[in-house]
Each structure stands twice: as structure tokens, then as C-alpha cells.
Symmetry: C2
Subunit: 407 residues, 2 copies
Amino acid sequence: MALTQPGLIYLAAGFTDPDTLPIEEVRIIVDDVLSDENCGKSALQYGSTKGLPKLRELTAERLQRVDLGLPPGVADADRVVITHGSQQLLYLLIEALCDPGDVVLVEDPTYFVFLGLLEGRGVKTHGVKLTPDGVDLDHFDYVLRRLVSSGEIKRLKLFYIVTYAHNPTGIVWSFVKKAAVLERLLRIEKLAGHPVFLVEDAAYRDLLFENRHENSALKISDSKARVIYVGTYTKPFATGIRVGFGLLPPQLIDPVLNIKANHDFGTSQFIQYVVCRALESGLYERHLGVLHKHYRAKALVMKDAIEKWFPWYIDVWHPTGGLYYWIRLPRHQCTGPRSKLFRTALRQGVLYVPGCYCYARDPWRKVPNHEMRLSFGSASASEIQKGVKRLGEVIKSISSYHTRRQT
Amino acid sequence: MALTQPGLIYLAAGFTDPDTLPIEEVRIIVDDVLSDENCGKSALQYGSTKGLPKLRELTAERLQRVDLGLPPGVADADRVVITHGSQQLLYLLIEALCDPGDVVLVEDPTYFVFLGLLEGRGVKTHGVKLTPDGVDLDHFDYVLRRLVSSGEIKRLKLFYIVTYAHNPTGIVWSFVKKAAVLERLLRIEKLAGHPVFLVEDAAYRDLLFENRHENSALKISDSKARVIYVGTYTKPFATGIRVGFGLLPPQLIDPVLNIKANHDFGTSQFIQYVVCRALESGLYERHLGVLHKHYRAKALVMKDAIEKWFPWYIDVWHPTGGLYYWIRLPRHQCTGPRSKLFRTALRQGVLYVPGCYCYARDPWRKVPNHEMRLSFGSASASEIQKGVKRLGEVIKSISSYHTRRQT
């Protein structure tokens, strides 16, 4: 793919806006940490595999604050594991829980890097249709029944969901849906013959435009043994500082830490100190306020441009946060990497993520091929306007052709 | 293990000396990087999975400088992959090259964390006896013959060696031995039916007390396709900044990067910038000079203490660098974690690494159980003296007992 084409507008990558990076703030934090000899020694020395105790405490406290009314003992620093980005936690989880040939459920569509991870480890996937407040429960029931009748239920290990400002669709899961999903997973465990976990990826929670206090699945009573909560400080703060975390069921902590120790002994103390200080000082929360305003404004720029330049018949999913718009074209208008639309758009200097990348290789249905993810993360306002205009013109020019055969 | 016992002297861990950490230097580097807006934006943003181009270049250039007379094209920035510590590179390699049940050769004794990694992934290991300049080639031949006759040769994937200031014995491999080993591995490939790699872990190379220009295995002609060179900036600079690297055969780069992308997308740009600047400015090399003097002095303190307090009949391996002394007691004097010696030493407030931890679980021989690794890394001079004195007294007091049955 000609990704270095001059003048190309990237509406594809999930990069955050370089203008929002807290450069001066991080400079002051590091200056502060390394001006104190004891802190400095600790920040530049090995730490524990689990992560900096203070950062684990702050993480638990913050969850308790954000997730109003969590049952006692749930947001426990002892259950927090710090990783090199939340991606590493996902990897460790799959290593700890899944053998090749095991089955993982995902949303249709979902975070495509996670699909790559599963594929890389030989894990099978089935998709459950996503609606604007979480998965379609009827379809979930159907998938579970089918897993039972095919015998695959014995290999089902977990259901992975992205619950806040979902990547790629931008939706927020309702708490009720999470509870309904967990209840079904618990019911199915007898047939599975082993625990089936609900992995709640809340990577974009801190990037919601408004503080929507939809509770996490941790709020569900008895979540403790089955809900894995995954978060990150990277995405909303500085992606170059790779610090994510998981809040794990007690029985998973040691298995995950044993693998983490083999990966890298533990997350860089130095970057953990930076995040820890940002949280402690209130800088992190203040930065979120700035970000929300910034991205809301850029989302509006993209919305206006889409309304102005895209044809009337497309279906736009308006994001509640995060970095993406999800666009659905009519079924016959293919958007895949080999489609006329994608190639023409690239020639016209605009790159998007083909929707088909966001679907599991699920033999039970055809992969939809008429959607696209547009990012307003790193592009400037004028690039967004220009990129959407180019793309809209390409869509209109292509729509007269019949592109069904192209993928 | 009562690792938080008050007054306990740790001669076990491979921590570097906190007094050597370049705290002020890192503060100035970060200040510098983040005072420049463009640099700052890049340091706090996602980078590439392979690593910062400038850091990869500097790494290749430095190898070319240190490893005099490397054939052209060997120290190539394109072959360098940056990881979260060299440990992560080892993990990625094993993921890329080994399936459960595959066989890896290691030195007897070797770096025990690597043994844990192999075990965690279901890889079998056989040990090859170590002598003061590398493995015993006769024993290596014997092991290879046995692998052939047992059919295990078909599963042999690599030989892992620690070539500079070896952990735990402190020896330096001679170049001639590396060449002899690689030559044998190449010869055996026909029987193996696939490539067999030589992994040269040079983690302690920059911690050699004197600049001993023993060439790496990269110097061997035709090393390019089979030698994997692993290094780190973490150990000699600041262990809290996790930056290691590998120089990989071209055919392994993509497989390793694909797994790395699933692990964490790429190493934190921020910590890569810190290391990059330290190399660029000459600070890294200056720091090594300070370190060498510091650790040589501490090694001498430990040497004197051992000569003074340990019984005359022990066998001491004097290190050429790194952080460790390797001590061999008579065969009947067990040093394992359940031995009277270990437990008494712990009660007397001194902790060492039992030698048995450094041996693969190789069914072809019994694990030696009469050795210990003593670290002079993080303990102060007076702790070293006190710790060695306590340990010497314990050894002498135990030696009158017959401890053969204890492990």
C-alpha cells in the first residue's frame, strides 16, 4: 500500500492528535521525578512484574471513583497488573487462557488488531452482531446455541467486548447489556466445562466526549471471578508512553504475571512513574478535559464534512467519543482493499480503514464489505475537510458502477 | 522465601547498583528532547513496531565499531529490532521459532530466567558443559550425536549462549569456540531438516571490566543467515528504562515483528528517545567507563571477602565483568533452596542464587547442586563484606555435616 504517497490524507490510523500531546507537562513531571534522588533511583531501577504499587493503587481508586457504586473489594489494587500498553495485557490474557483451536467471541465489527492477535495464536473467532447499545442478544443466543450444537462450546474461552466509544463504531454499551451477556456466559459454563470470561476493553473510556457514567461490567455482582477489565493511560495521554493495565479475577493474576515475567520482567518503571505523577497531580484529569473539547470539535468538523460531501443514502454512526466515524454504504458498494472505491480513494489521496478488516474470519457468515472507518484523530481540521470531500466525490463517482464482484 | 526479612543481605538479584544510575543525565536528556516541539511530539506518539530509525542506526554503527572487522552488510540498521528489554527479544524469538516439544540447547549452567521462559512455552532443553572459554566441544559433539540417535535432532531449533561476562559464571567465550559451534550447527542442519540458529546473548558485553575485543559470532563469515545477536542498553544504563535489541537474520525479521506488533505495537518511543540521545551525545559510553571502574572495585571487594571468609577448598570463578561470582563447593555440599546451607544462610541473613536454578531440566544428567551465584550488583561494599562473611561462616559450619540427601 502506497502509504508514503505525498499529499495523502490519513483518515485511517488510530493515532491521537500530535497537537494534544502533553509535552511540556511530561517534561515537568520527569524533571520533578528525577530531581528527587530516591524517586530517581526507583524510576531508573527494575520494579516488580505486577507494576508500581502507587500506580496500581491510583488505578484502583480511580476506577472506584468513575464506576460509581462498585461492590467493595472489586477495585482492588492487588488485582491490578500494569503492562506495556493495554495491548500487552490482551496478549498475556490470550496466552494465559487460550490454546490454538480455542474459541473467542467478538463483536461484529470489532478492534481489528485484536483479531490479528487471535489469528496469530491460532484461536478461532465468531462474531456477534453489534447494535448501538451493545450486541444483539437474540443473535448472541443464536451463536451460543450453535456453539453448543457444534460442540465448539467446549473450546469457548471468552467474549471480548469494547464497551466505551467502541472501535470502530463509536457506540457505548449499556450496562444492562453487559449484565445480560455475563449472565448468559455464566449459564453456559456448565456446558463449556470451564470458566468463560467476559473481557471488557475500556481503552476509549477516557476519550468519551462527555462523562457518561455507564457502569463497567465490574459493577455486576459476582463480576469478580469472571470479568476482566482492560484500560490504558496511553491513548488519552501520550501514545509514546506505553502504560496500560488490567483488573483481573484473582485466579488469573499469577498465570498472567508468570507470562509477563517471561516477556519483560515488568513494565518500564520510568514510564510508570510519569503516568503515576500525572494521575497524582491531577494533570491527567485536566488533560482529559482539554482532549474531550478538542476531539469533540474535530468530530463535528468531520460530521459537517460528511453531511456536505457524502451521498444522502449512507448510514453514519455518530461517535460518543474516541477517534472514529463508522460509515455504512449500500451492500453492493464494496470498500475492501481491492475494491475500486478503495483504490480510487487512494489515488485521489485519501486513506480509510476498510470495514472488512474489523470482522472476524467467522465461517458462519460472510464478511460485510461495504463499510469504512474514518479517523479524526491525527488529521487536522482542514485535512479532515479535504479528505472527506475527496472521499465523498469518489463514493459518488463509483456508485454508478456495480462493484459487487470486487473485494 | 522470606525475602523481606529485615537485615537480609541480597547477594542474589541481578539488580544493578542504584548508586550508578544516571539520574541527572536522564533528566537533562528528557528536558532536551521535550524542549523541542517536534522531538517531543515524536517521543510521545506511537512509533513503528521495529523501533526508532535513529536508534536502530546508532545500534548498527556501534556494533560495527565494537566488533572490529565485521563483514559488510552484517551490522545493518535494517536488521535491528528494538524491544522492551532484551528479554522481550528472547521471548519473541522463542515464539517465532519454537513449538512445544521443540528442543533448545543451552550452556550448563545458563541464565535461569531464559530457562523459565522455555519451560513456560513447553520447549525441551539439553545442557552443554561450560568451560572458561565457552562450551566443551567434545561434550557438544556428544550431545549432538545423542540428539541424532534419539531423533530429537528433528526438533532442535537453536543453541542459546551467553558470550560476554556470562551469567552466572562470568566467563567470556572465545571467538574460536563460537565459530566451532556454528560450524557444527550448520553441519547438523541436514539431519535437522530445517535451520538451526545460534543465539548469542551479549547482554553483559557492555559490562565487561575491560574492553576485551573478543568478536561476536556476527564476525563469522556466513553468520548472516544463522546468528541472532541480542543486546541491551538497559542493564548497563538504567534497568528502569527497558530498551533492548536484536540483530536478526533477514528471514526472521518479519516473523518477529508480526508477533511484536501483537504484543505491544512497538517499544515505547519515549524510552527509545532517551537511549538514542544517550548514545548520540556520548553519554552512554562515558557512563560505561564510570560503571566499569565501579563494578571492578566491587568485584575486588567480593574477591577479598571470599578469600578471607570462605573455606580454602571452594572453586571460585573470577568474573571478567558483569555482576556475579560463581562458586563451586565440593559435590556433597548441597546449596539448593531446601538445603541446610541455603536455609541456614537465610536465617543468618544472606541470600544467594542456588546454582541448581541455572541448569536446564535435562533428563540426560543430574542437576548439579553444589554451586551458588553471588551478585555484587546492588549490595554496597560493606554489605558485600558482611554478607560474604556470614555465608563463609555458614559454609564452614555446615561442611562438617553430611548434606548429600538434602536438595
